[in-house]
């Protein structure tokens, strides 16, 4: 467990509302995350957890509300200020999202090549160091297509931490991996937080993984926050929807028969 309970908030989401067309995706979301904390965002499919993460990464425009990262409201930043802010965050995407035309090493040094004047030798050394951290030493000359799913995610983590960011966002880091690799990735995330004093936000639907790494858990349901609490608080919650999520119960709402028939006939 880490994250100073009295530490400053480095991520502050206030009254965040998002629509895709007429559909409301996030409903007045409020969330604050302290420095050095690992916050896991959980929820069923379509609960809005990935949308919330994309807002934190400034990849989506909110309908209303504010998102402060390290004290700056990213909804108010201009394009250049936003790119400067992006250099302080690292992101590990679900599928890795390594550039397929570059080697693993080139992928990892890409942020350095684009934003610094470092010598290539220095960048190569830094890339090897980060690859060591994620247990991928010696893989820098391989192409992303030559890596397994678990290796891709670790290489993506290495790229995400190459600039030693203050904030790290991970989208489904253990999805689709076998339990051993998944557990190793969880250990890696914990190690990164402890060694580099990062604040880490992880979106996952893997309960074991969430309970292993989380300092606090945010449970989203239908675009709204159901609860924010420690692992024990979430596990012991008496909220029926949270218990359904934890017990992997899938709720099927019985439709109104007339509405159902109209939908089948294509009238709605």
């Amino acid at each position: 467990m880490s994250g100073d309970p009295n530490g400053e908030y480095v991520i502050e989401v206030e009254n965040l509302v998002t629509h895709y067309g007429d559909r409301q995706i996030l409903k007045n979301v409020n969330l604050r995350i302290r420095r050095g904390e690992i916050m896991v965002i959980m929820g069923g499919s379509g609960s809005g957890k990935t949308t919330l993460l994309r807002h934190l990464m400034a990849l989506e425009k909110a309908t209303s509300g504010s998102i402060k990262l390290l004290g700056s409201d990213v909804t108010q930043l201009n394009e250049i200020e936003l790119y400067a802010m992006c250099r302080k965050i690292g992101v590990s995407f679900q599928g890795g999202a390594l550039l397929s035309s570059l080697t693993v090493g080139e992928n990892i040094t890409l942020p350095l090549r684009e934003h610094t004047d470092l010598d290539q030798t220095v960048m190569d050394i830094m890339a090897r160091m980060k690859l060591e951290v994620v247990n991928l030493a010696g893989f820098e000359n391989l192409m992303p297509s030559e890596l397994s799913g678990g290796m891709l995610k670790r290489a993506a983590l290495a790229r995400a931490i190459i600039t030693d960011p203050a904030l790290l966002f991970c989208d489904e880091p253990s999805a689709g991996l076998d339990p051993v690799v998944s557990s190793a990735l969880d250990e890696l995330i914990l190690r990164l937080r402890d060694a580099m004093d990062m604040t880490i936000v992880v979106v996952t639907h893997e309960l074991d993984s969430a309970f292993r790494i989380a300092d606090r858990i945010t449970v989203l349901d239908q675009g709204a926050i159901l609860t924010v609490g420690t692992v024990e608080e979430v596990k012991n919650s008496d909220n029926e929807r949270i218990q359904n999520l934890l017990n992997r119960k899938f709720e099927v709402e019985e439709p109104d028969p007339e509405e159902y028939l109209a939908r089948l006939m294509g009238h709605t």
Binding site: L59, E79, Y83, C86, V91, F93, A97, L98, S101, L110
Partner: protein
């Protein structure tokens, strides 16, 4: 069986007419949006090319060089083959057509003018649109779907600056160069066919070419390649960024970029020639 009454048909007709109108409206707004996207990509690319260094988003020379290698150097064999074919074909057609007037010697001037003002730029642009435009659209489309474009954004790298601007610069340098190459190869092929057929020398062929084309003709041919370069790049980038769906979507935008790029080249050529010859 009783015929359906006209009163029961009219709501159907009205609803079908409304659906058609709705589809027409959507397709029109989609096209306007596409032109808007293309214009904004062009303006943004130009902005990064000229202001990138000041805004700490540099369009890097090595990216431009890599694009030039792909668009230009690797296209030389196919452009050479097609240019040879064009040179031979125009010469054969020209001699056959002019023979009936006893003016087959005029074929050299005709081929020189045709190749310099029209065939060289047009054929080169069509090949590049098919080869490199499709490649750019597919690359951007695949990168969008696999979240590589999102990854660039969160690394503080503007995707237009990183992906589109280098291609635009490379295309603006390479397309006129390839066109010059195409013109030279077509004329060489024409010389190989024409000189023995009409009984003239290579030196006389070169003299006749020099006498037939002016720097204005060359400028006409090369100026429009700059327009083609912008259109090919922007159509491809616009198609690539508007990808939807998975692999099927990438295939669709690749096809659309070839069709759109070639159409844009041919239509803009028509407008350019009209403007240059009528005003």
């Amino acid at each position: 069986m009783a015929a359906p009454s006209s009163s029961s048909n009219s709501p159907n007709l009205a609803s079908r007419a409304l659906e058609r109108l709705d589809a027409l409206g959507r397709s029109t707004t989609d096209r306007i949006a596409f032109f808007g996207l293309g214009a904004s990509l062009f303006v943004e690319s130009v902005r990064w090319i000229f202001l990138g260094r000041r805004l700490r988003q540099i369009v890097r020379a090595q990216h431009v060089a890599a694009e030039m290698m792909d668009i230009g150097v690797l296209a030389i064999p196919i452009i050479s083959v097609v240019s040879i074919a064009i040179g031979f074909t125009l010469s054969m057609q020209g001699i056959q057509g002019l023979e009936q007037f006893g003016a087959q010697h005029q074929v050299i001037g005709g081929v020189a003018l045709g190749v310099t003002r029209e065939f060289g730029p047009l054929i080169t642009a069509i090949i590049v649109a098919g080869r490199s435009g499709s490649s750019l659209a597919a690359r951007i489309g695949a990168m969008t779907i696999s979240q590589e474009v999102d990854a660039l954004k969160v690394m503080g790298i503007n995707p237009v600056r990183f992906l589109v601007a280098p291609s635009l610069v490379a295309m603006l340098i390479v397309l006129p160069t390839l066109t010059l190459w195409s013109i030279a190869i077509s004329l060489l092929a024409s010389a190989l066919y024409v000189t023995p057929v009409i009984g003239t020398t290579l030196g006389a062929f070169v003299t006749e070419v020099n006498a037939s084309i002016t720097t204005d003709d060359l400028a006409h041919g090369l100026t429009k390649t700059l327009i083609f370069a912008v259109l090919i790049t922007i159509v491809a980038a616009s198609k690539g960024t508007s990808v939807e769906g998975g692999a099927e979507g990438v295939g669709r935008v690749t096809r659309d970029s070839v069709v759109g790029g070639i159409s844009a080249v041919i239509i803009s050529d028509l407008l350019f020639v009209y403007a240059m010859t009528r005003f």
